[in-house]
């Protein structure tokens, strides 16, 4: 070993000297011309900047991920670009005929690459709870932790390419009503959804489209537990959103979310909504929708307004 060191030592020194000479000659070349003020201009590198374009971080979907109202998108939530951090908090209320759902949560987007989210859902059974012997206003509570990672593409800037932005994510859900879930035939009170999303903004058409493939065992997104007597395996479910941008601050659109049908006692339908989202600034957005949640346990045609408020940066 020693002899090798002795042998290479002078060679490395000579190489470094050569490189240093090259550097100084190169540096001299550059200093012959003074840099212009524009060349000296430096970008704001504080990570708290919110330089993503308006609405391109989506809004908060029901389970807390950035997306539409029902479905996650491949975008990373918040207004942080590749060297910034973004974040927001949301409150959502869905009021259908016989039930209402409250959701609240927050997310952080790191470097436009990784999104971490937490959310809690409270599903109030109102009079149905009484009819089922659970008690009036019996409420299922579910906590959700979400992780999303952007894999490739850029939904907004790559306008001369067909390639959408791709992301994968998971949502860990834990329901607090294990005993009731057991009684209705659900196999578990917790579960993990896995999904992959592709999102693309078509600027020349002023249209944004998203498609998500979710693998899940969740009954009514987990409100009624996971797996059931009819089926207890992961099933692929398609979800989609399409939005038409009316101006920088306003978008209208529709969403669709396919759902499994695992419980023998409770038919489950796919979900739809039509929405209008308004972001007067990067710090606040309002989403108003009309949701069709189909059958939920003993009640058919559960439809009604969906309102969501989001604040963030």
């Amino acid at each position: 070993m020693k002899s090798v060191k002795r042998f290479t030592g002078p060679g490395v020194a000579a190489l470094m000297l050569f490189m240093a000479l090259g550097e100084s000659v190169h540096a001299q070349d550059e200093t012959t011309q003074e840099p212009s003020p524009a060349e000296l201009a430096q970008p704001d590198t504080s990570m708290a900047g919110s330089d993503k374009l308006l609405l391109t971080g989506g809004v908060s979907q029901l389970e807390g991920a950035a997306g539409g109202g029902l479905t996650p998108w491949a975008v990373i939530g918040g207004y942080g670009t590749g060297d910034q951090i973004g974040g927001n908090a949301f409150y959502t209320r869905v009021n259908v005929q016989d039930y209402h759902l409250d959701g609240a949560g927050m997310l952080i987007g790191f470097l436009d690459r990784i999104e971490l989210s937490i959310a809690q859902q409270r599903f109030d059974t109102e009079l149905v709870g009484e009819a089922l012997g659970l008690g009036r206003g019996f409420t299922f509570r579910q906590n959700i932790v979400g992780l999303k990672i952007k894999l490739a593409g850029d939904a907004v800037l790559e306008q001369d390419s067909w390639m959408p932005q791709f992301a994968v994510g998971l949502q860990y859900k834990k329901n607090d009503r294990g005993a009731v879930l057991d009684a209705i035939g659900a196999k578990d009170d917790q579960g993990i959804d896995f999904y992959a999303s592709a999102t693309k903004l078509y600027l020349s058409q002023s249209i944004l489209a998203n498609i998500t493939l979710r693998f899940t065992k969740a009954n009514q997104i987990g409100i009624l537990g996971f797996g059931g007597d009819r089926n207890n395996s992961y099933e692929p479910q398609l979800e989609g959103s399409i939005a038409w941008l009316l101006n920088r601050k306003l978008a209208i659109g529709a969403e669709y979310r396919m759902k499994p049908n695992n419980l023998g006692i409770a038919e489950e339908d796919d979900w739809f909504d039509a929405f209008i989202a308004w972001a007067p600034t990067k710090h606040v957005s309002l989403t108003l929708a009309y949701a069709d949640l189909g059958n939920i346990v003993i009640k058919d045609n559960q439809r009604g307004p969906y309102l969501s408020v989001q604040v963030g940066f």
Partner: protein, 156 residues
Amino acid sequence: MKTIYKLATRLSLMVLIGVAVVAPIHAAENPAPADPSLLPVFEQFGGKPGLDALMEDFMIKLIEDPRTRNYFAEVDQKHVKAMLAEQFCVILGGPCTYTGKDMKETHAKLSINEGGFNALVEDLQLAMDMHKIPFRAQNKLLGKLAPMHREVVTLP
């Protein structure tokens, strides 16, 4: 009947979204390709005089914006405005010739991040709003400008 209706709705919706997501758009080699089909958009911008007027307010917005100010404050603004007007004119299929340098060369020595690029887009949107350019026409231009981030953004 209900199942057939549901299946049809489901299928047509997914096909619609699927087509929108994967519809191929040819990747352009030139970051500022002249597109004759955008001539109607050129008219919506008020032709070359409209673009020249737009650049006046665009430059004002760029100087007002602390995120972009230092890149434009000390440059020959008259020249930059003229080159931008020419470039936009060419992109929108107008009867102009771009006499400026290419985007890569122009920005090679500048330190610009994605936030700076987006800031410029926002300032351009504000200026276009001021000039009552219809939103869809704005987006058609922005759709041609957006891929230039590859030449303009010099920082990771």
